[in-house]
């Protein structure tokens, strides 16, 4: 199996910011140097189908490439044996009048290449039958895009290759107002930086304090003797920890667990606020009360992380395991030992004096560093045991994993299922069996788009539903697709190109989870 884990996380460059960093500044703030490096190491193949219907979704394909070339993928290749027609000129921004009758692959490659000198473009102008059969013909690529329609034979061949080699594949189709795309994911596709909602990432460990944090609570001493100023500036985290101790003494050493107890606990905290001041309360107590329901909870473990820890790839690592799984194994060991994940270490803003805040911040940071150190040690041990010392995993990759551990997710394609379009085309029994249910529950009325665009021509569409209106919607959709004769509407292909590229970026940078659903668009 080939390497499918995230590529090594590059540490932020310590050298001068280059013109290149400046150029990509606005996107680096989204997917960081690690994502950018993965993007620049990628080679994307665009296969234009051989059925030569209208423009064959080439506008959607070329728009997708445009959106990938701008942020700087490393290489792209366009495989298209057609020649440029008049109709192409009117709808494809990356062709010009002089392109007429020339190779469409060559011409679009040339004009797309102008967009970004950092990217190298290639063209394959021969027919699929001539090059696809060659040995290792698909070997250079780590993402395959297919512009439909395409002969079943080549679709099958390409999907099988992608599946065997654990690379993602995206199938897209655009005609008139209709468009759709599907992603075929590899068996396992791990994502470390899932960009979780910042609200959900807070992990304060209030119910699992460690000695240094306990000591900070001790150091407050007797709250009742503090001056009004000091009392009003105790960071709310310490307040909560202080009142949790009080609660435990009167509740058999138990923490508040259900909603009712948490509400009672909140009342206990609130009762401690001093109200003999002009404001009639204290801001730090308000903050403490406001966060009770959210932060009085056991340390979180995301569902994606739990699933990951149970996957065989995690529990049974080998010398050939990708970095991701080596670290995942170490994280699991950490979790099994401590019952918690490594601490992310970040602290929300709160009412406090600068000194107190910084003190508290360093307690959290120190704990996070210690946790990373422990995981790193396990990783090194594993590397030693598996004799993979030559490919040492860099510290920053381990650190990034620890920080995001709770939200890590492994996208899976359990049975290596191919895209629904292909399953339909080969009359897959299971897919057909599921179809009536889909048709019945298609409350948004988008299934006709999918069926009209991609159902095999031999498929019988005359009896899809007993509901006359529903049946008619299928017939109308089919008519619409026939009416446009494969002609693309630039704007719809541009929407499709945007969507496909958006998902491709997520897959290539390994940032955020991509969609696993077939997506359909009716631009009417």
């Amino acid at each position: 199996m080939t390497e499918i884990a995230p590529r090594e996380v590059t540490p932020p460059p310590l050298q001068a910011p280059t013109a290149k960093e400046k150029k990509y500044d606005r996107q680096l703030r989204l997917w960081a140097a690690s994502g950018q490096r993965a993007l620049e190491e990628s080679h994307v193949l665009l296969i234009v189908g051989d059925e030569n219907l209208g423009s064959n979704s080439t506008v959607a394909g070329v728009e997708t490439l445009k959106n990938l070339i701008l942020p700087s993928i490393g290489n792209f290749t366009i495989a298209d044996s057609a020649r440029v027609t008049d109709a192409d000129l009117g709808v494809n921004f990356f062709l010009e009048s002089d392109s007429l009758y020339k190779s469409r692959a060559d011409e679009t490659r040339r004009l797309l290449s102008e967009l970004n000198p950092d990217v190298t473009g290639h063209a394959i102008t021969t027919h699929l039958s001539e090059w696809l059969e060659l040995e290792n013909s698909l070997q250079p690529y780590n993402l395959i895009l297919i512009c439909a329609p395409i002969s079943l034979e080549y679709l099958q061949q390409t999907c099988a290759y992608a599946s065997e080699n654990s690379i993602p594949l995206i199938y897209m189709h655009s005609a008139g107002f209709y468009a759709s795309f599907s992603i075929q994911l590899p068996h396992e596709f791990p994502i470390v930086d899932t960009h979780p909602d910042p609200e959900s990432t807070q992990d304060l460990r209030l119910l699992a304090p460690w000695p240094e944090l306990e000591a900070a609570v001790d150091s407050i001493g007797d709250i009742s003797t503090l001056s009004d100023h000091d009392h009003g500036h105790i960071p709310y985290i310490l307040l909560l920890l202080h009142y949790l101790r009080e609660w435990k003494t009167s509740h058999n050493g138990q923490y508040p667990s259900d909603f009712k107890e948490k509400t009672e606990f909140r009342d206990l905290v609130r009762s401690g606020a001093r109200t003999n001041n002009p404001e009639g309360g204290e801001e730090n107590y308000d903050e403490a009360c406001a966060s009770v329901l959210k932060s009085i909870a056991p340390p979180p473990v995301g569902s994606g992380c739990k699933e990951m820890m149970n996957m065989p790839s995690c529990t049974q690592v080998t010398a050939g395991s990708p970095n991701f799984w080596i670290i995942a194994n170490a994280i699991k060991k950490f979790y099994d030992t401590h019952g918690v994940l490594p601490l992310p270490g970040s602290l929300p803003d709160m009412k406090a004096t600068s000194t107190e805040y910084i003190k508290l911040q360093s307690i959290y940071k120190a704990k996070a560093r210690a946790d990373v150190a422990e995981v790193t040690q396990t990783v090194r041990q594993l590397e030693n045991d598996l004799s993979r010392m030559s490919t040492k995993i860099v510290d920053s990759e381990i650190e990034a994993f620890c920080k995001n551990a709770c939200h890590v997710r492994v996208l899976t394609n359990p049975n290596n299922a191919s895209i629904p379009e292909l399953r339909l085309a080969i009359s897959d029994a299971k897919t057909f069996a599921g179809l009536p249910g889909l048709i019945e529950n298609d409350w948004e009325g988008m299934l006709p788009v999918f069926i009209a665009l991609d159902a095999p021509r031999k498929m019988d569409l005359s009896n899809l539903s007993e509901d006359a209106d529903v049946q008619e919607s299928y017939e109308k959709a089919v008519e619409e697709v026939e009416r446009v004769q494969g002609g693309e509407l630039h704007n719809i292909s541009s929407v499709l190109g945007g969507m496909v590229a958006q998902e491709a970026i997520k897959l290539l940078t390994r940032h955020k989870s991509s969609t696993q659903m077939a997506q359909h668009l009716n631009g009417r």
Binding site: L14, Q15, P17, A19, K22, K23, R26, Q27, R29, L30, G54, S55, K66, N67, L70, P71, S72, D86, A87, L89, G90, V91, F93, E96, F177, H195, S227, H233, T353, S354, Y357, I358, T431, G434, G437, L438, W443, M446, L447, Q485, G487, L489, H490, N491, S494, V495, G498, M499, A501, Q502, S513, S514, T515, Q516, A518, Q519, H520, N522, G523, R524
Partner: protein
């Protein structure tokens, strides 16, 4: 032979293709979304009609033709191209850096489809040239802007001109599109927008506790005091109730003293003087106010002499300034501080009188980073790298090609629906807007059925959280009856250039044509007339800033017990000759204005609550309810359909008769 526009014609159908080709389109902004929009407009044939059939000598053929609205795309942008634009603004290349965006965008896009007429203007949309009449000349307007002020301005101009507006924006992986039409949908200002956060002045100037406080201090206080025009007030900080008046007065003195230091710019000891003033003397003064530090850690002043290491310091600063990914040490910050101060001083000496902070102007960023870090050090706050400070100081919003491409194409999709639903404008210069508050028959049937608004156009969101559904939409909602921007009736005031009319003439005209009794008038400058304010009555309108050439508005407010909605007048130059029988050179169009009553909630005292809100808002809550139901349906549909072919996406049905 296949025609070039076969794809477009085949998809859109005959009538809509014609509308699209004949349309006159305004695109405000040629940045991230703007470039994509221009490509889509050009590739879909917008504004390609006239130039597709050019006359032989290129001039108009008959006198009648001079009234014909020219099909074209007008693109306006004030900005020039920067290196950091090139990762997404695909009409620009490296050799275009520093050139105006509008011109380059036109040049690149024209190469694709020479038959589309593109008129590029390198200007600000706030210019008075772009008045209500200018906006009336378009079938549709696209906003592709990056700031609130311009968005709100175009929103108001489109409401006044009664032209449909497609508003859009992106942040990182997210995006949003909203169609707006006067009297039909919500406008941009129907929902309040978050205002920029402002810090209490004493937090910034005396008691910072977070890095952002020090950054705001460096960027909005120190930098303008040294390099900006003085007396600039920044929105970043304000005197608030919590601020101590005595301390505020002291801070004023402190700023005065800094101005004296500014006069030493150009002398060799300048950097040292600035440094000692702000990191030593001012800090000593703060420290001396012992009551301030009873419970806080007092700041530690820095001394330039004991820290600096001689003349090589500037040279070191220059090298260090290139390392923007790690936080500099105290000494390194001093080096960069001296280096940037010298560079900026040289620029001032070189004739650049005023320098404004700009995150992409490296010299200013170096200065703000080092000054903010030095202040952080003084107050025991963690230091940050230049890269991090740039994001905080420059309010940088992540921007990527994909989101812009998607959002721009969704805009054009909404535009198709709008053009389909709107009757074509007369092929002549538009008659002044009719009484646009009262819904026309077609529109009034739509109220309560919000999904039918504007040809089924929807509010569209590019979402980033939900991976099952990449684009979500919700029905457009009718206007808020108490929206200060779109609830008034908009009309026009034509002002003769021959006669210098007074405010009294306008007051009389309003009484006569609208039937006002007690009312007041407000312009951007403030109240110019109310029943108790008669000082201005004899003044010529021009003295009050009201001319036919401005793009400002006059708001007329009914002060009676049962008030009508506000009347908002835009001004134009009167073209028709003044008839001697007329008493005035002023003319209000439309001639007959019927103002509906103001909804009670808009002027009643006290809180408004949901129950009291009038009908269109009811439509909005119905819309929200419908959305909830929809989401539940998705959930249950998901549960039922246990297969991974799952169908999602945009739209219901808009039937096209073609």
């Amino acid at each position: 032979m296949q025609r070039r526009d076969r794809g477009v014609a085949q998809s859109l159908g005959g009538p809509l293709t014609k509308r699209v080709k004949e349309s006159r389109v305004l695109l405000v902004g040629a940045g991230g979304i703007g470039c994509e929009l221009l490509k889509n407009l050009v590739c879909c044939g917008f504004g390609s009609y006239q130039s597709a059939l050019p006359t032989e000598d290129g001039t108009e053929t008959s006198p009648a033709a001079s009234h014909v609205r020219k099909a074209e795309v007008v693109v306006i942008d004030l900005d020039t191209i920067d290196l950091s634009n090139l990762n997404r603004q695909f009409l620009f290349r490296k050799q275009h850096i520093k050139k105006p965006k509008a011109f380059v965008a036109k040049e690149t896009a024209s190469q694709f489809n020479p038959s589309v007429a593109i008129d590029a203007q390198h200007a600000s949309i706030f210019d008075s040239t772009y008045n209500v009449e200018f906006f009336e000349g378009f079938d549709i307007v696209f906003n592709a802007l990056d700031n609130l002020a311009a968005r709100r301005h175009v929103n108001k101009m489109c409401l006044a001109a009664d032209v449909p507006l497609v508003e859009s924006g992106t942040t990182g992986f997210m995006g949003q599109v909203q169609a707006i039409k006067k009297g039909v949908t919500e406008c941009y200002d129907c929902n309040p927008k978050p205002v920029q956060k402002s810090f209490p002045i004493c937090t910034i100037r005396s008691t910072p506790s977070q890095p952002i406080h020090c950054i705001v201090w460096a960027k909005s206080y120190l930098f303008p005091e040294l390099f900006g025009t003085s007396e600039e007030d920044s929105a970043d900080m304000a005197v608030t109730e919590g601020d101590n008046a005595e301390e505020v007065a002291k801070l004023k003195e402190e700023a005065e003293a800094l101005k004296k230091v500014r006069r030493m710019m150009g002398k060799s000891e300048f950097a040292q003087e600035v440094f000692n003033k702000v990191f030593h003397d001012d800090i000593e003064r703060l420290r001396s106010m012992t009551e301030m530090w009873q419970s806080r850690k007092p700041p530690e002043p820095l001394s330039f002499q004991s820290l600096s290491e001689g003349p090589s310091i500037v040279k070191q600063g220059q090298t260090l300034a290139l390392q923007d990914q790690r936080a500099w040490t105290l000494l390194e910050n001093i080096s960069v501080f001296c280096y940037s101060l010298e560079t900026l001083s040289n620029r001032v000496q070189g004739g650049e009188n005023v320098i404004e902070f700009d995150k992409d102007d490296k010299d200013t960023l170096d200065f703000v980073t080092s000054a903010a870090n030095l202040r952080s050090h003084v107050f025991g706050i963690p230091l940050h790298s230049e890269w991090e400070i740039k994001q905080m100081a420059g309010n940088i919003i992540p921007a990527i090609a994909t989101s812009n491409a998607l959002t721009a194409s969704l805009c054009v999709m909404e535009a198709f629906k709008i053009l389909r639903s709107q009757p074509a404008k007369a092929n002549a210069l538009a008659e002044p807007t009719a009484n646009n508050h009262i819904p026309t028959k077609a529109q009034s049937t739509a109220i309560g059925k919000p999904e039918e608004l504007l040809g089924g156009s929807k509010m569209v969101f590019l979402t980033s959280k939900n991976t099952d559904r990449l684009i979500t939409s919700q029905p457009l909602v009718g206007p808020k009856a108490d929206c200060p921007v779109c609830s008034p009736v908009y009309a026009k005031l034509a002002i003769s250039e021959e006669r210098a009319e007074t405010l009294k003439a306008l007051v009389d005209l309003l009484k006569r044509t609208v039937g006002y009794k007690d009312f007041s008038m407000t312009t951007e400058a403030g109240i110019i007339y109310d029943p108790d304010l008669e000082d201005n009555l004899q003044k010529p309108l021009s003295e009050l800033g009201i001319t036919g050439q401005s793009n400002g508005f006059i708001t007329v407010t009914d002060d009676s017990d049962e008030p009508k909605v506000d009347l908002v007048l835009s001004t134009t130059i009167r073209r028709s000759p003044v008839d001697d029988a007329e008493a005035t050179g002023l003319q209000i169009t439309p001639k007959k204005i019927e103002l509906p009553l103001k909804p009670e909630a808009a002027y009643a005292n006290g809180d408004m609550d949901g129950d009291a809100e009038p009908e269109p808002v009811f439509a909005s809550s119905a819309g929200a309810k419908r959305k909830r139901e929809t989401e539940e349906e998705v959930e249950s549909a998901k549960k039922r359909a246990k297969s991974d072919v799952y169908v999602v996406e945009d739209d219901g049905a808009i039937l096209l008769d073609d």
